[in-house]
C-alpha cells in the first residue's frame, strides 16, 4: 500500500543548527504539516545518520496536548520513542490533522510510515524533544508564498 504522502520532499528541508548542549533542528515547508513531516524525518536522520529508509508499514498516532506547540513536541517524542524503544523508524509523516478541542485541549493525529529498525543501527541517542526555544514561524519565501519554519531542540 502506498503511503499518502503529505508532501513532495523537494519542497521541504531540515537542517541541524549549532547548539552547545544538544541537537537543534530547523525544519521548513510550505505549511505546518509538511514542515512537521520534514522535522520528523530530520529527527530520524539524526538518529540513523541519514540512513535511507523504505516505508513498509504504518502506525496511527493520536496525541492529546495543551496546544499545537505541545502536540508537535509530543509527536517528535513519540517518533524518538518508537525508534529507540519500539524499534520502528519513521520515514514519512502523512495525514497530519490538528483538532482544537477548546481551551488547553488540542489533538494531533498522524500516520507514521516507516520500517522496522532491524536493518539499521541507531547512531545517536536522542533523549527527548523539548519545549525550549520551540518556535513556529511563517515567513514570506520571496516568491509571493509563505513558508513555515519549525525550530525544535532535542536533548541528547
Amino acid at each position: 500500500m502506498t503511503p499518502l504522502l503529505v508532501h513532495d520532499r523537494t519542497c521541504t528541508s531540515c537542517v541541524q543548527l549549532d547548539h552547545t548542549a544538544d541537537v537543534a533542528l530547523l525544519a521548513s515547508g510550505p505549511d505546518v504539516p509538511r514542515a512537521l513531516a520534514a522535522l520528523v524525518r530530520g529527527t530520524v536522520d539524526v538518529l540513523t545518520e541519514d540512513a535511507p529508509l523504505e516505508p513498509t508499514e504504518a502506525r496511527h498516532v493520536t496525541i492529546d496536548a495543551v496546544d499545537a506547540a505541545d502536540a508537535i513536541v509530543a509527536l517528535v517524542n513519540d517518533v524518538i520513542f518508537a525508534a529507540i524503544t519500539d524499534g520502528f523508524l519513521t520515514a514519512e509523516l502523512a495525514d497530519v490533522r490538528f483538532e482544537d478541542r477548546g481551551p488547553y485541549d488540542m489533538a494531533l493525529s498522524a500516520l507514521l510510515w516507516g520500517q522496522p529498525r532491524s536493518k539499521h543501527v541507531i547512531r545517536d541517542e536522542l533523549k527527548a524533544a523539548t519545549h525550549h526555544d520551540f518556535e513556529v514561524r511563517h515567513e514570506p519565501d520571496g516568491a509571493g508564498q509563505t513558508r513555515t519554519h519549525i525550530q525544535l531542540i532535542i536533548d541528547v
Binding site: Q16, D18, H19, T20, A21, D22, V23, A65, V66, A69, D70, A74, N77, F81, I84, T85, P103, Y104, I122, R123, D124, E125, K127, A128, T130, H131, H132, F134, I153, D155, V156
Partner: protein, 540 residues
C-alpha cells in the same frame, strides 16, 4: 518599589485564592455533593479567567543590569516581573563568556516564578539549559511557591559517586589498559545500553520505591553504602503506580547501565590533597586509585519529565502562572499536579540511585576479578554519592527562621556544611563531600560543603565543567585526529563503543573545571579537598 511589592503580594494572594477555590470545587465534585458540577465548572472558569494565559515576555539580554558584588559574585537587578534579583557566581573572566550566552536571561526568567526566595542563582559552570539554566538553584516557599520540572531537568537525579581503594598508582602500573577494558566489559554502556540484570515488573516497582536499598537487599551492595548516599539512596514519597507504562518500558532493561553522552565510569588517582583533615575523613590520600561513576535515571527519568512537563504546562495556565519560557512550566507546591510530580520524580530519583549502585556492584566484581582479591580487601568503599538534578524539601534559614523550602538544583550539587544532621556522621566535622567531575582529559575535584553555602545558596554548589563547544563543533574539532591515541599518550586509556561519543566528549568541548572550582573555593561556597586525575575512562 513599594507598590511593586504590593502588586506581587496581591497577585500571590489572588493565585492562592483561585487555587483553593478550584481545589475545593473539585473536592466537592468528587464527593458528589448536590449542585457541585456547576460550582466546579464555575470555579474552574473563574480560576481560568483570572489565570493570565501569558507565555513569553521574559527579560531580554539587553535589559539585564549586572552589578559586581565582589570577585566572585554578580547580581542581576530585579526588573519587570522578576520577583527577586538574580545572582551569578563567576570570575570576571568567566562573565565575558557567560554574558554571550542566554543563561543570564534564564536566571532572570526563573526569578519570575511565584514564591521564589531570596534570589535566582547560578553556579560558575552555568550554561544554557531548558527553562532553568544548567547550574541553576532556586528555592520556593511552601504556601506561595511552585514546583517546576524544568528546575530539575530531564535526567532526574543525574549524579555522581566516588569510590576509594587501597590501591596506589604503583599497583596498576603497566596494567591500566587492561583494567580499562575489564571495566568497560563489566559496566553496560552506550546507546540504549541494557543491564546485565534485567528486572521484572514487580522488581522495577520495588526499585522505584526503595532506590539503592533494593540493591543492598538483593546483594548488590552493603548497608554501609547507603549511609554515604544523598537521602541514604532512597527518596521518600515515591509512588510507582503513577509512573506510566512507557516510562517503565524504557527503564526496565536499563537499570545498571551507563547510557551515553557525558556519562562515564572513570578510574583515576589522587594527584593532590588540599585539605588533609577533610581528605582523611573521606578516606583519600595522595597517589590513591579511585573510581568515579556518573549517570542518571536513563530513559525512565526522561519519560517522567516529559510527561509531567505536559501536565505542568496545563497547570501553569490553570493557575495563572506567568511563564517567560514554556519550559519553566510549574504548579503551586500544594497543588495535585505538584504532588503528583513529586511522587513520580521520587521514583526516578530512586531509579538513578539504584542504577549507580548496581553499576558499583559490577565495578566491584570487575576489580575483584582483575586483582584477584575481594572488593572488600581492595577497600573499594563508597566515599559519597551526590545528585545534581533534583528538587526536594529541605530546612533552611529564611529571614532568620528555620523553614522547610523546596530547593531546585539543576546541574547543581548539594553542599551541606559541617555539623548538618544530613551529613554522614563520619564526615560531619568537616562537611559533606561534593564531587565535581571535569572532562576526560584533565581532572576532577573533591570539595567539601561549607556554612557559607548554607547561608547563601541553600547549601548548593556547582556540578561540573560545563560545555563550551556544541557536539557538532566538537566533532569538527576532533575530525582527522586520533583522540584515543592522543589521550593514551597522556596516560589516559579510553574505552567506548562509539568513536562519535568520544569525539563529542573531547576535553576541548568543556570549560576548565579548575576555573569553576576556584570560584567556588574563592566564594567560600565549597572548600577544595583533592584533585583526581583520570587514567581509565569508559564512555557510552
Amino acid at each position: 518599589m513599594g507598590s511593586k511589592r504590593e502588586k506581587r503580594k496581591a497577585r500571590a494572594r489572588a493565585l492562592q485564592k483561585a487555587t483553593a477555590k478550584a481545589q475545593a470545587a473539585k473536592q466537592a465534585h468528587a464527593t458528589g455533593q448536590a449542585g457541585t458540577h456547576d460550582v466546579c465548572c464555575a470555579a474552574e472558569r473563574a480560576a481560568g479567567k483570572q489565570a493570565q494565559k501569558r507565555i513569553g515576555g521574559g527579560v531580554k539580554r539587553g535589559q539585564l543590569t549586572f552589578e559586581q558584588v565582589d570577585a566572585y559574585r554578580w547580581d542581576i537587578k530585579a526588573i519587570g516581573d522578576m520577583q527577586v534579583p538574580g545572582r551569578i557566581y563567576a570570575s570576571e573572566a568567566m562573565m565575558a563568556d557567560i554574558r554571550r550566552d542566554k543563561s543570564p536571561e534564564q536566571v532572570a526568567n526563573v526569578a519570575h516564578l511565584p514564591g521564589i526566595i531570596d534570589r535566582s542563582m547560578a553556579m560558575p559552570d552555568m550554561h544554557w539549559g531548558y527553562g532553568f539554566p544548567i547550574g541553576g538553584v532556586a528555592a520556593f516557599k511552601r504556601d506561595t511557591g511552585v514546583l517546576s520540572p524544568g528546575g530539575v531537568g530531564y535526567d532526574i537525579n543525574c549524579g555522581v559517586r566516588l569510590l576509594r581503594t587501597n590501591l596506589t598508582r604503583g599497583d596498576v602500573s603497566g596494567r591500566v589498559a587492561d583494567l580499562a577494558s575489564t571495566l568497560h566489559a563489566a559496566i553496560p554502556s552506550g546507546l540504549g545500553s541494557e543491564s546485565h540484570r534485567a528486572l521484572s515488573e514487580r522488581e522495577l516497582d520495588e526499585v522505584l520505591e526503595q532506590g539503592a536499598s533494593w540493591c543492598v537487599k538483593n546483594g548488590y551492595g552493603t548497608g554501609r553504602d547507603l549511609k554515604v548516599i544523598e537521602e541514604r539512596g532512597q527518596m521518600a514519597g515515591a509512588d510507582p503506580s503513577l509512573v506510566s507504562e512507557r516510562a517503565k518500558n524504557r527503564g526496565r532493561p536499563q537499570m545498571g547501565s551507563l547510557g551515553s553522552g557525558n556519562h562515564f565510569a572513570e578510574v583515576g588517582y589522587v594527584e593532590e590533597v588540599y585539605d588533609e583533615e577533610a581528605a582523611k575523613a573521606y578516606g583519600l590520600f595522595k597517589g590513591q586509585i579511585t573510581l568515579m561513576i556518573h549517570s542518571g535515571s536513563r530513559g525512565l527519568g526522561y519519560q517522567i519529565c516529559d510527561e509531567n512537563l505536559r501536565r505542568m504546562l496545563a497547570a501553569s495556565m490553570k493557575y495563572g502562572i506567568h511563564l517567560p519560557d514554556r519550559q519553566l512550566c510549574a504548579a503551586p507546591l500544594t497543588s495535585p499536579e505538584a504532588e503528583r510530580y513529586f511522587k513520580e520524580m521520587a521514583c526516578a530519583i530512586n531509579y538513578a540511585f539504584a542504577n549507580r549502585q548496581m553499576m558499583t556492584h559490577f565495578a566491584r566484581e570487575a576489580f575483584a576479578g582483575f586483582f584477584g582479591q575481594s572488593a572488600q580487601n581492595l577497600g573499594l568503599d563508597l566515599v559519597y554519592d551526590v545528585c545534581h538534578n533534583i528538587a526536594k524539601w529541605e530546612k533552611h534559614m529564611v529571614d532568620g527562621k528555620l523553614e522547610e523550602v523546596c530547593v531546585h538544583r539543576k546541574g547543581a550539587t548539594r553542599a551541606f556544611g559541617p555539623g548538618h544532621a544530613d551529613v554522614p556522621l563520619q564526615y560531619r566535622d568537616v562537611g559533606q563531600p561534593v564531587l565535581i567531575p571535569g572532562d576526560m582529559g584533565r581532572y576532577s575535584f573533591v570539595l567539601k560543603g561549607t556554612q557559607k553555602a548554607m547561608d547563601e545558596t541553600f547549601g548548593s554548589s556547582c556540578h561540573g565543567a560545563g560545555r563550551r563547544l556544541s557536539r557538532k563543533k566538537a566533532k569538527e574539532v576532533a575530525s582527522g585526529r586520533q583522540i584515543f591515541r592522543e589521550l593514551q599518550k597522556k596516560g589516559i586509556f579510553v574505552r567506548s563503543d562509539s568513536k562519535r561519543t568520544v569525539a563529542e566528549e573531547i576535553p576541548e568541548a568543556y570549560k576548565d573545571v579548575a576555573n569553576v572550582i576556584d570560584v567556588m573555593h574563592g566564594a567560600g561556597l565549597a572548600g577544595k579537598v583533592a584533585k583526581l586525575v583520570p587514567i581509565a575512562v569508559c564512555k557510552g
